[in-house]
Symmetry: C2
Subunit: 313 residues, 2 copies
């Protein structure tokens, strides 16, 4: 039996590393667990932003400019929604709408979220296993100076402008790991776990809130590596640094060691922040900024080599 | 108080006459009751074909070539549904999808079907009152040689090819007339009721199946006129003639007198069929084929004049 790897991913940054891993590993050797805290229903459409970003990225169909949605997207539905005076705060591309409609259809057929993800991957030509971290509803709620907001209302509707005071991962207590993620954790040849460079509070922590997941990561015999989403004190994408400041946390590259130190063996930070790593154990330095498809593969290769060293060490 | 008129309409043909009436009558003098038997949910979208056809037609936004849907439609969603291998038997234009999404949103806000229709009319710039005949679910089911089919599965999915053996208007027994239609029937100045040239079995009979509606038409002091959908032994649009043959009914112009004789005072048939009308009471002849917008207004004018004669007679 060949080695197996488990990657945890949120949206854009995570999806890029997941794509790098998928370039190096055959489908049967990789499970990509995806955050579901951002999922919501809009105008009756089930929207799963992180899963779609990972699938689109692996399919080579992601929009490189927007950082979300599809390349070559058209906006016929959105234009008409605006003309009709319908809610237009959440942008829906036509190809996105089609995927949401197919998802709705599959859910109505009685498929679990994991089974839906398998079907959507097949429809998009993605061969690797991309699984929602849980099949149960788990929703990130944002407590702000304007009150409690659903995640997309905060993130898209209000452009992450309200001051964040706290986060709630509603439903997490009742959630269980999805079958594919649970199986990957139990895989007899599990050779490594990769925490992709995703927002700790909005992408990774919602997953870790699932009962038993953090403990499983702590007790796993496989080494765990985390790639920091913070480079030079800022997040490459999204509101991570702003959120950390509002929560009173210094946005520094070693945030992954700070937050995941109980189960992460090695934090990988960008060469920009090499000075921080000096004399600090459990932190390694490498180029982590992924501009090209080759950058993704190179970072994935760095991760896999580091995991191999950890396993041998 | 000024005169009021009530029109009953199905899809294309009915919508054209409704548009003619709307050209002649100010909004406060006309209520257009629309069949709901074709309504269904597709990929989670609430689709109300006859209501949309009437609204699009009155808004001047209907697709003149297709006979359904929007003019200047785009197909971004549909193309992607096909690419994804999603169900594609029912065509969804992008503008149509937008309207269905807005409808879904309004239904989720708790609005009744009638209230939703008011909002959609406003969004489309339609000032006349277009009301679903009922706010309750009423679905036309088609018994065929291939078994019982939901209407759209029969009509669109199977192109009305299966041999029809019978029709069921499911839910009709529990349905009540919508407030606007009930109010129009009780209007103290109701000067006429117009049965538009719509398929008797698929558009008009589902409405008449609502308890008390037929009786209300019979006992209304206002005259009732029906415009025949059959011209020269065929239906101008749709499967009416085929259905009638399968039900053992001769598809002739005076079908309206045959089917609605208990409440219709006058059937209007096309000049093509003038010979049939000779010596038959309760049947009048006029050009009923509506090719242009002016044709619609002319036929509407014929109807209103006939109603006035009936009321005076």
């Amino acid at each position: 039996m060949s080695k197996h790897y488990l990657a945890l991913s949120g949206g854009v940054g995570g999806a890029k590393l997941a794509d790098g891993l998928a370039q190096l590993l055959p489908p049967e050797q990789l499970t990509i667990a995806v955050n579901v805290g951002d999922d919501f229903e809009h105008l009756g459409l089930p929207v799963w932003p992180d899963l779609d970003t990972v699938l689109y990225t692996l399919a080579g169909k992601a929009n490189p400019e927007l950082g979300w949605g599809r390349a070559g997207e058209s906006w016929g539905v959105m234009e008409e929604l605006r003309a009709l005076g319908a809610p237009d705060w959440f942008l829906l591309g036509d190809k996105d709408v089609a995927l949401h409609l197919l998802r709705r259809h599959l859910l109505e057929e009685g498929l679990s979220h994991s089974e839906v993800a398998v079907q959507l991957a097949r429809s998009l030509g993605v061969e690797h296993q991309v699984a929602p971290v849980t099949d149960q509803p788990l929703r990130t709620l944002v407590d702000t100076d304007e009150g409690r907001l659903e995640f997309q209302r905060y993130f898209v509707g209000r452009r992450a402008e309200p001051i964040l005071k706290g986060l709630t991962y509603a439903g997490a207590e009742q959630a269980r790991l999805s079958p594919a993620v649970a199986a990957a954790l139990q895989h007899p040849q599990l050779a490594g776990i990769i925490i992709c460079p995703s927002n700790p509070y909005l992408s990774v922590m919602p997953m870790l809130a699932i009962p038993g997941f953090r403990e499983a990561l702590q007790s796993s015999p496989a080494p765990v590596i985390a790639v920091s989403p913070i480079v030079g004190g800022v997040a490459l994408k999204g509101p991570a640094a702003k959120i950390m400041q509002e929560l009173g946390v210094e946005p520094r590259a070693t945030i992954t060691a700070d937050l995941y130190g109980d189960f992460v063996d090695l934090s990988l930070i960008d060469t920009t922040d090499a000075a921080i790593a000096e004399g600090v154990s459990g932190v390694a330095v490498a180029p982590t900024v992924m501009r090209t498809r080759e950058d993704r593969r190179a970072l994935a290769d760095t991760c896999l080599q580091a995991l191999q060293s950890l396993q041998q060490g």
